[in-house]
């Protein structure tokens, strides 16, 4: 029988622990920000902002870009997830491996690469003799352009979240549908799609929230066309700092929080009343045969990968190999000076590598621990409390990094009350901020995996005498391993590149890769910045390859590109 256990299956401390974790990572910084907002509201500083058409237009742009962006992410990510998980397409592993990489390339880089690719100086278009003349309007400077880039940037999020769910599809359910006479397409629409809904929606939700909070892409593609989203508007508030700024920022952040809460409500709504627990034995992944279609689809996927991965990466590489921006890359101009410089001369590079690796790994694994507990708790509990907790976890991720960082400074600038140590200025405050910011990313896939579990499996373990920790370690965690793997990799990749949170929180000795790259770029060393970015990508690929090497020993499905 598969029914929800109504017995108190968790230790008594779990719920308080979950609430405490959410309070520390989410409520504390958010409410500190809210206080600033209330103070400003109290002083009547904000009437002007509410009346400012800029607020409302940016609200609209934020929604538009985020919605279209999410749609594109879902299309791309879902297409990859379905094709690479469920079909017999050739080269699935390689494609899967490459598809998660675009997350490694900072959004600004991707945006710039695309601007160049489609602009008058595009080497590609020039070679094809279809480059637009100098000065023609750049089509990417538009809502559509932003949405497109959002879509490309966040598609791996959807891919990873969805894939974990697909791994748990029941094979016999699909077979039953085929025998009912359903064509592959119908099986897909009627069985696979609804059953993978929790994963798909989780992916769409993270993508949406990521779009809402993204700064890099609208900064480059939006501002030239006077398209301000909430994050870019917030940033511009900081640039003209005044006594009102915190209040305004708090208010704008509230708008972002509201948008993400509404998004979450939509998600709940869609999932409500649906039961996705798989009955009986699942796990054998069903394979659709593509046949001749495979020959058509594979090149399409590779072409897509070219645009989302290879082209931006090439742009990075080219940028690293020329001495100055705008110098064409030829054999005579090619130089490895930038690599030498960042590798051997800049001492900050090594510190940054160490810091970022530590931060990303600690965040990814630390959060995994946390999310396993929180996810377990949230999946077994429905009702207002669960919804509120979920929303609270979500909001920090939706806020632009700069806002979250400000909130953390407000909270932690002074020494801690009892311990009398100051976290501010140490690497630990960055770690806490990362925990807060990426909580949602880590939690999403895990929760949806928990929702798909046949409760009888845990019940059997309980009756075997396994207490909470025991069955968590032996039964529950291995069963959600694919989602856990996705969660770790997602968080690691994102944290590796993180910029805006750490930008405000770093001090000497605690700079991260994102900060160093940004600072290099900002101070005119775009060649150095590109070189460092290339090195980061190379490092991550090397680590992923190492994982692949040990992959045989990991539980099935942990590595999202292995099938």
């Amino acid at each position: 029988m598969t029914r929800s256990a109504s017995g108190s299956s968790q230790p008594r401390w779990l719920l308080p622990f979950v609430i405490l974790a959410v309070a520390l990572l989410s409520v504390l910084p958010l409410s500190r920000l809210a206080v600033a907002g209330f103070v400003a509201l109290w002083r009547g500083d904000l009437g002007g902002l509410l009346a400012d058409p800029a607020l409302w237009s940016s609200l609209r742009y934020t929604l538009e870009t985020a919605l279209f962006g999410t749609a594109i992410s879902v299309l791309l990510g879902a297409a990859f997830a379905f094709l690479l998980t469920l079909t017999d397409l050739r080269g699935r592993s390689v494609l899967g491996f490459l598809f998660v990489l675009p997350m490694m390339i900072p959004p600004q880089v991707t945006a710039l690469a695309w601007v160049q690719m489609s602009g008058p100086s595009s080497p590609l278009l020039k070679a094809l003799h279809i480059a637009p003349p100098l000065g023609s309007p750049q089509p990417l400077y538009s809502v559509g352009g932003i949405a497109l880039l959002f879509g490309v940037q966040h598609a791996p999020l959807v891919y990873l979240a969805l894939r974990a769910g697909l791994m748990a599809l029941p094979r016999d359910g699909i077979e039953a549908a085929r025998l009912s006479g359903a064509s592959s397409l119908q099986v897909f629409r009627h069985i696979v799609l609804p059953l993978s809904m929790p994963g798909l929606i989780a992916g769409a939700a993270i993508a949406f929230v990521s779009c809402v909070g993204n700064f890099g892409i609208p900064a480059i593609l939006g501002i030239p066309a006077s398209i301000y989203t909430l994050p870019t508007l917030i940033f511009s508030k900081f640039s003209a700092f005044s006594s009102r700024t915190f209040g305004e920022v708090a208010l704008l952040s509230t708008a972002i929080a509201l948008i993400s809460v509404v998004g979450l409500a939509v998600q709940e709504r869609v999932l409500r009343g649906r039961d996705y627990r798989v009955i009986g034995l699942a796990g054998a992944v069903a394979t659709f045969r593509l046949g001749g279609l495979g020959l058509l689809v594979a090149p399409l996927l590779w072409l897509l990968l070219f645009f989302v991965l290879v082209a931006p990466f090439m742009a990075l590489l080219a940028g690293a190999l020329v001495p100055a921006y705008g110098v064409p890359l030829t054999f005579s101009t090619l130089s490895f000076h930038a690599f030498e410089e960042v590798l051997f001369r800049q001492s900050a590079t090594r510190t940054a590598f160490a810091n970022s690796l530590f931060l990303s790994a600690a965040t990814a694994f630390g959060l995994l621990l946390l999310t396993l507990l929180v996810g377990y708790q949230l999946a077994s509990r429905r009702g207002v409390l669960a919804r509120v907790l979920t929303a609270l976890v979500e909001i920090p991720y939706a806020l632009p990094g700069i806002v979250l960082a400000v909130a953390f400074i407000l909270v932690f600038a002074g020494p801690l009350p009892v311990l009398n140590v100051t976290l501010y200025g140490t690497i630990w405050i960055i770690l806490i901020a990362y925990f807060s910011s990426f909580f949602a990313v880590s939690l999403k896939p895990v929760v949806s995996a928990f929702r798909q579990l046949d409760p009888a499996l845990e019940e059997a373990a309980r009756l075997s005498g396994a207490g909470f920790y025991r069955r968590l370690a032996d039964i529950v965690v291995p069963l959600v391993a694919p989602a856990a793997g996705a969660s770790v990799i997602l968080v690691f990749l994102i944290a590796c590149n993180e910029l805006t949170v750490s930008a405000l929180l770093w001090t000497a000795g605690t700079q991260t890769l994102g900060v160093v790259i940004y600072n290099l770029d900002d101070s005119g060393g775009s060649d150095l910045a590109s070189a460092l970015s290339v090195l980061v990508v190379v490092m991550v690929v090397a680590m992923m390859l190492a994982l692949e090497f040990f992959g045989k020993r990991l539980p099935k499905g942990v590595l999202p590109w292995r099938s």
């Binding site: 100086s121 006077s226 005044s242 921006y325 400074i409 501010y424 290099l520 101070s523 005119g524």
Partner: protein, 303 residues
Amino acid sequence: ANLVLYTSQPNEDAQATVDGFMAVNPDIKVDWVRDGTPKIMAKLMAEIEAGNPVADVLLIADTVTLERMKQAGQLLAYKSPEAANHDAALYDADGYYYSTKLITTGIVYNTAAGMKPESWLDLTKPEAKGLVTMPSPLTSGAALIHAQTLAGVEGLGWDLYKNLAANGAIAAGGNGAVLKSVASGEKAYGMVVDYMPIREKAKGAPVEFVFPKEGVSAVTEPVGILASTKNAEAAQKFVDYVLSEKGQNGFVKLGYIPARNGMALPDGFPARDSIKVLPIDAAEALKNTDDDLKTFSGIYGSN
């Protein structure tokens, strides 16, 4: 505790400045944090709001920002003996802040461009239609000063910005983005701070920098001491150093126009007296900041 410097100078420049200072004052250790002005201000303001500002000395974008801090009572007055060698227009009479260099905003063009602009008005010509880009005052402090400066000039004013907008100019992110856009040939002309194109040109980039004949605006990267500092003495030494001949020479080596009188200019710049710096009144500019931002967004539409 070490002296803490918040600065918006580029990395290498910040390191060079600090190294120079520590060479002169070996007993003072300096920790520095650098970031773009908006971010560093957000950080600082959050610290102040939380009641525990970390920085002792600021070396950031423009006098307008420091004027605001002065008025908010967040700065410490200090009369530096080095001020004698500086133009009085370049520091606060009460000693709250001192300009350290001049970063002017002029015109950059791609060497492949059809026209060699000499005047701000050239950018409104049909040859430049759709080919002009500039930093947005919403993102760049220098750009805001620039707009406020030009707005006050007879014959330019806000009309210049309106005409530019009518000519298809866009206001993109920061100075870096403008430079990239022009260097890559995506746009032909841009308004940009001087040192970037001059440095890049030296490295081989296809760009050229022009000081337009009407004059250029300048931000002056002022230095100031925070009222809350616990290292007032060391902070004052730092201020003295950056205003001193030695400190100023350091800036020249980095490619900036020094604030101190009687210094040579870095390579790639024309003679000092051929550069006409348009004046700006910080207190006045501060008062108008909001309106000016509105005016600007009214033209380029942040909405």
